[in-house]
């Protein structure tokens, strides 16, 4: 709303397709969460979180495809830097989702522990924001 799609892509360094996958997975997840909390769905929390995990898996797969293509067409250094930064972000998002799932299943994690990957991610996003044109 404040940022245009082009600026979001420039800031987060995700492609429009990756953002599309994230939006779709969160939409499906929110529907499942609502159904579970309102008592219309008896699935486990791991099943509820599966759209989010599938989305991260697909994003990591896309990153690897981009790495291979970039490596073949350009050079190894550029491709390695891109894949490392993308996988770091995907890894942090995946860790957050995994910890949130663990907290909901077992309940013995504090919220600050669950949000720790997001705070690390926020540092990365701050650096990327400062490097925007």
């Amino acid at each position: 709303m404040l940022l245009r799609l082009k600026e979001i892509i420039q800031w987060t360094r995700m492609t429009a397709f990756e953002l599309f996958l994230h939006l779709l997975s969160i939409l499906i997840f929110s529907v499942l969460v609502a159904a579970k909390i309102e008592g219309h769905l008896g699935a486990s929390w791991s099943t509820i979180f599966s759209p989010l995990f599938i989305c991260d898996g697909l994003n990591a797969y896309l990153c690897l495809i981009v790495f291979v293509r970039q490596y073949r067409e350009y050079d190894l250094k550029q491709a390695s830097l891109r894949v490392a930064s993308s996988l770091a972000v995907i890894g942090l998002i995946f860790t957050f989702k995994l910890l949130l799932c663990q907290k909901l299943v077992t309940g013995n994690l504090s919220c600050s522990e669950v949000f720790a990957p997001l705070f690390v991610l926020s540092k990365i996003l701050m650096i990327r924001a400062c490097r925007m044109h």
Partner: protein, 134 residues
């Protein structure tokens, strides 16, 4: 407003919100959920003001009546105001739910789902467009 300023403003607001949210969720502070969402209210206020100023500038500009210099139409700007209002409604209903009001979670999430579906359709149009980015 340059993209870097918008990105840093968004980043700062979200970071402050996360910190306050974590403190409240861990029980370190005991205050109303409407107060926890203050960064988000401020952010939405700033966004609505920004878009309305943009719409006024669009009406007063002699550049092109249909699109502004960022290729944004008036209809798109009206849609952005509606999206921001949907986000505000979602946050308000979520705060009510967290304050133990008896509202179904489906009703709380309807504005968010509408917003997500609009975002998905817009993103899909961008993905299949010949000149993709807006």
């Amino acid at each position: 407003m340059a993209a870097v300023h918008k990105a840093l403003f968004t980043w700062f607001i979200i970071l402050v919100f996360f910190i306050i949210f974590v403190l409240r969720a861990d029980g370190k502070v005991e205050c109303n959920w409407f107060l926890i969402f203050i960064p988000m209210w401020l952010f939405d206020g700033a966004v609505i003001t920004y878009i309305i100023v943009n719409i006024i500038m669009h009406f007063r500009s002699a550049y092109n009546p249909n699109v502004d210099r960022n290729d944004m139409t008036k209809r798109r700007k009206y849609a952005l105001v509606i999206c921001t209002l949907l986000k505000l409604v979602f946050q308000f209903l979520l705060c009510l739910r967290l304050e133990n009001f008896n509202i179904s979670l489906y009703f709380v999430l309807i504005p968010l789902w509408t917003l997500f579906i609009a975002g998905l359709v817009d993103n899909f149009c961008v993905l299949i467009a010949r000149h993709p980015y807006r």
